[in-house]
Point group: C2
């Protein structure tokens, strides 16, 4: 893929993902100007002084004026409001994309809010983890990471090609999925693990906070993502509620089973479950 280029990119939400997107766009030479918008003027001024964005605006519509690529990279719960506040500035030919962790409930709504001639293509880079803020940003955050692009029946082919090319220029491995499939998959592989990590920390910490003084690397790794933004993950769970609930209930059934095996001191059954998991875990990325 060559020739992906935008004159002016507007980044709505200059946190870890938005700032890294801006840096990657600059590093890979796919734009000439980057404008930012966000809730914190102080953060935007800092992003400008660090050269992450060229300028910023206090109003999202002003920030989008004249942009040929608009990126929604604020917490996913804020996308619809942001689009409503800025779409009057979208011009014919503008491509709008996002970096949110939920797609099904969002993509169709955003498509409906697009002015005529403006095309939305959803995207979800699988990167970032529990870090946040521009100090953790890197132009290489998306290199070698997966990025899920979620076109629909209504998607414009040229806009889709631009967004796919953009992520490929960042070095990402682009996978295409419809928005509802994306949400079913990521309920299991991302939203459920966050719910589990938060729950594990609360289980230990509420039982006796001093227990946390005895943890080793295993606990730290298992709960690393429990340091992620509570607001962001609350919104993800609410926006993808049915799929997340299904995955939680599936997990509960598996854990109930293990509890029964252990209650019965059934070592073969307990060991069998652990072995199945070990093989699945070691098989990841080995195909």
């Amino acid at each position: 893929v060559t020739g992906v280029f935008f004159n002016k990119i507007t980044v709505l939400g200059v946190g870890l993902i938005g700032a890294s997107f801006a840096q990657a766009a600059r590093k890979n030479g796919i734009c000439s100007e980057i404008v930012g918008f966000g809730r914190s003027r102080e953060n935007l001024a800092r992003a400008q002084s660090l050269g992450i964005i060229d300028s910023f605006k206090a109003d999202p519509a002003d920030a989008c004026e004249g942009a040929d690529l608009i990126v929604l990279s604020s917490p996913v719960g804020s996308f619809l409001d942001l689009v409503r506040r800025s779409s009057s500035a979208f011009r014919t030919g503008t491509v709008v994309t996002d970096t949110g962790s939920v797609k099904g409930a969002i993509v169709h709504e955003i498509e409906r809010l697009m002015p005529s001639g403006v095309h939305f293509i959803g995207g979800h880079p699988i990167a970032g983890g529990e870090r946040s803020g521009i100090d953790a940003a890197s132009p290489d955050l998306f290199a070698s990471a997966k990025c899920i692009v979620t076109p629909t029946d209504r998607s414009d082919a040229v806009a889709l090609e631009k967004i796919t090319g953009l992520w490929m220029s960042f070095g990402s491995q682009v996978l295409t999925m419809d928005p509802d499939s994306h949400d079913r998959v990521y309920a299991y592989v991302s939203h459920l693990p966050h719910v589990i990590a938060y729950t594990l920390v609360n289980t230990v910490g509420e039982n006796d906070r001093s227990l946390l003084d005895f943890v080793g690397q295993g606990f730290l790794d298992t709960t690393r993502i429990a340091a992620s933004s509570p607001e962001l993950w609350r919104d993800v769970c609410l926006l993808n509620r049915e799929n997340v609930l299904e995955s939680i209930r599936h997990f509960q059934r598996k854990l109930d089973l293990l509890e029964q095996y252990l209650t019965a001191s059934d070592g073969d059954a307990v060991g069998g479950e652990f072995m199945k998991a070990q093989r699945l875990r070691e098989g990841i990325g080995q195909d």
Copy 2:
């Protein structure tokens, strides 16, 4: 602590922990000879050729002959059998220790099996994670790691001082705890996380194995310990059954609560739980 020295150390179980123990003992100059015993002759020969052990024996009692420190570093489920097979070779003044993840059910039993004049002191280095085998061994595995030492009313003061000094000479942060407290604490901070990680992998992988193609770093970190030895963790769960079951039931109650909040679309309650967890997680090691 200075002056901890053993003429001959016998390592029963030359895997990641046993081999790292041998390497640390050598590096820190606390012994002159190291003998190994284990199930696999091939592994022992390899450990000898790599200089991790000086020699090895096909029988545990032979391996313990003349040792003044004996280390049980095989999977914890095998300790009692190993002690029964080798204790005839323990001589007066010998100190026996272990590196197992369970203490309550083990320490008192092992104490009872000690010949007169032979002292057992339990130990649990919080290191190793999901890796296994001598290729992952390192003389620095225990440096900066916690090591829990679990004396009882019957423990010999001199033997306790030797074992504490030994781990300190390896650079470990030694914490002392009675065996039953150890098992209650580590049910929550280590055994439960393993159960959860195994269960999370099975939940995702059994729903649809191809889901595992879409995981990101968050899932990989959260389930890293699901690559740990199924046999070892089965034995840990069985040996520490009551505490592990209590921690599982505690976790189930917390997850049920979150499921109810999400079913009711109660964003404040969901976000409140996530925020509590985030603060607890970020507070670890910050005191």
